[in-house]
Symmetry: C2
Subunit: 143 residues, 2 copies
């Protein structure tokens, strides 16, 4: 049995109107957005896209590592395009949502060291830092 005919290379991806719209939307957004949010904006912008499709594509993009995901405490997943292929973390403003991508070789090393000293293998870690950004400290109202 031939595993894959020359017609369909391993990860065949079709270009569809919906995918393009979603990718354009992601490219235009600076912060993390929920799937529902992105869908609503797409609809508002006149794009005919289903919520399921948005979920499907976001999941795919996330698996592929093309978008970052963050979990909110109320069980929502937020997505944002990576502007940086390498491993990194986020510093998020709790008021305006402004996000800064940060990388810290120090933490990476620390996490790996701690884990291996406890005899753990195949280690992954997540780090989220939230604070109030300078712009929001002085203005009590949301921008």
């Amino acid at each position: 049995m031939h595993m894959s005919s020359s017609l369909h290379p391993a990860g065949a991806h079709r270009t569809t109107r919906q995918k393009l719209a979603l990718e354009r939307m992601l490219a235009a957004c600076a912060d993390f957005r929920s799937a529902q949010d992105l869908h609503a904006q797409l609809r508002a912008g006149g794009a005919r896209v289903g919520l399921t499709t948005v979920y499907n594509n976001l999941r795919t993009l996330a698996e592929r590592g093309a978008v970052d995901t963050v979990l909110t405490e109320d069980g929502e997943t937020l997505y944002r395009r990576c502007e940086n292929d390498s491993h990194h973390h986020h510093l998020v403003c709790r008021v305006c949502g402004r996000t800064v991508e940060i990388s810290g070789p120090a933490v990476e090393r620390w996490a790996a060291a701690v884990a291996s000293s406890e005899g753990f293998f195949d280690v992954r870690h997540t780090v989220e830092i939230v604070g109030t950004c300078s712009g929001c400290v002085n203005s009590p109202t949301r921008p």
Copy 2:
């Protein structure tokens, strides 16, 4: 209007069979457990407790800071009694759930430094490290 009569001090807490059972269960568990899980174990142990009550009490305990909570990627909240009042993080085995409390002055300093260099204030952070513990690396089946 008198805000509170002398009969009922601000945070009145009643001691009930259910609360005691839950607290005993938490005291006996070393790792993070889901509400459903704790409820199932209570039932299995013969305790007559409702799922709603478990949720109610866990929420209260968490607000009070008596238990730590962790969010899984599939939207579940896991609870565990705090055995350590100070700030710390967790190293969790993805197979058996074994948890090690870790503290890392290095990360704390790093997080604080990164945040302030970006002009953020009132910073909080979360760190979760997951890996496969030594006991689970060699045994493909779950304990």
